[in-house]
Amino acid sequence: MDFGRLLRLARRRAGLSQRQLAERTGVAQPTIARIELGVAVPRVDTLDRLLGACGETLEVMRREAVDFDRTLIRRLLAMTPEERVACLIEEAATLRRLDEAHPVGRRGL
C-alpha cells in the first residue's frame, strides 16, 4: 500500500496543509512530508492518527480474491495508455462477435 499517497489524498480532501495536520496531531511536519513522499513508512497507529485528523480512518476489510491472477495486470502495466485502450476496444469487438455467434445448424439458442 502506498501510505504516502493515501495520506496526501486524505489531507487534501480535508483541506489541510501539512503544517495544520502537524498541529492537530502532534506529528512533526517534516515527518508528515517524509511519509507523503514515501521516504518514511509510518507506524499503523501514527497513520491512523493522521488519517483520523483528516476525518478518515483505516478499515480492515475481508479480501474476497487474494489469489487473484495478476498476470494480465502486469501485462497491461507494461503497455502505454494508448495500447491499453486499444486492447479494450478489441476485446469489446470480440465480445460483440461472441454475442452474435450461434451454433451452426441450430436456431433459437
Binding site: 500500500m1 502506498d2 499517497r5 493515501l6 489524498l9 487534501r12 480532501r13 479480501r63 474476497e64 480474491a65 487473484f68 495478476r70 494480465l72 495486470i73 502486469r74 501485462r75 497491461l76 502495466l77 495508455p81 494508448e82 491499453r84 485502450v85 486492447c87 479494450l88 476496444i89 476485446e91 469489446a92 469487438a93 465480445l95 460483440r96
Partner: protein
C-alpha cells in the same frame, strides 16, 4: 454501434466539455484487465458545461438509455441538469454521465483535483480519475460486482506500487554505480 471510447472522448475534448473519465475505461487505463463496453464520465455541473455536453451528445447521436421510448426528453443542458446520472446509447457505444459519483463527496471538483492526465495518442489527452478515487467509488457502491472489481483495483494498486518501487530501486542502484565508477576514475 461499435464501441469506441476514443471517439466519444475526442468529441468531448473538441467541444471543450469539462469532464473526468471514471468507471471501466479509467480502471483499464490504470491497468485493470476487467472488460467494459461503457464509457463513464463525471462532468462539471455548471450550465455552460452541460450545454457543451448536450451538443457533444447530439453529435454522437445519443439516445437516452433508461427512458421509455414514448417519453420525449430533449438533449439540452437544462435537461441534463435535472438528472444526476444520465445514461445514453451513442454512435460510439454506451456513454454514462455521472454528476455525483458515489463515495466522492466533493463531486467533479474533487475528482478533477486528484485526476491524472493520460495521453491516448493523436493529441487526445484526457483527465482520468485517480486510482484511489476509483477504489473509493467501488467501495461506496457496494454491489457484488463492485466488490469484485474493488479487489481487482486493489491488486492493480499493489502491482503498480511494486513496479514503482522496483523502478526507484533500480534508479538508485544505477546512480550509485555511476558514482562508484566516477570515484574509481578519480
Amino acid at each position: 454501434m461499435a464501441y469506441d471510447p476514443l471517439r466519444a472522448l475526442r468529441l468531448l475534448q473538441r467541444r471543450h466539455v469539462r469532464f473526468v473519465v471514471i468507471g471501466g475505461v479509467a480502471a483499464r487505463l490504470w491497468g485493470s484487465p476487467t472488460m467494459t463496453n461503457v464509457t463513464e464520465i463525471c462532468c462539471r455541473r455548471e450550465p455552460e458545461n452541460l450545454d457543451r455536453l448536450a451538443g457533444a451528445l447530439r453529435e454522437l447521436g445519443a439516445r437516452w438509455r433508461d427512458v421509455r421510448d414514448d417519453v420525449s426528453l430533449r438533449l439540452e443542458g437544462a435537461t441534463l441538469a435535472a438528472g444526476e446520472n444520465c445514461r445514453f446509447d451513442t454512435d460510439a457505444g454506451p456513454l454514462d454521465v455521472l454528476g455525483e459519483p458515489a463515495g466522492i463527496g466533493g463531486g467533479f471538483d474533487e475528482l478533477r483535483a486528484n485526476a491524472t492526465d493520460f495521453d491516448l495518442g493523436k493529441g487526445l489527452v484526457v483527465p482520468v480519475g485517480d486510482l484511489e478515487d476509483l477504489i473509493r467509488m467501488k467501495r461506496a457502491a457496494g454491489r457484488p460486482t463492485d466488490r469484485v472489481e474493488l479487489e481487482v483495483l486493489i491488486a492493480v494498486r499493489e502491482e503498480r506500487d511494486s513496479a514503482w518501487r522496483q523502478e526507484s530501486t533500480a534508479a538508485v542502484r544505477e546512480r550509485d554505480d555511476q558514482a562508484g565508477t566516477a570515484g574509481d576514475r578519480l
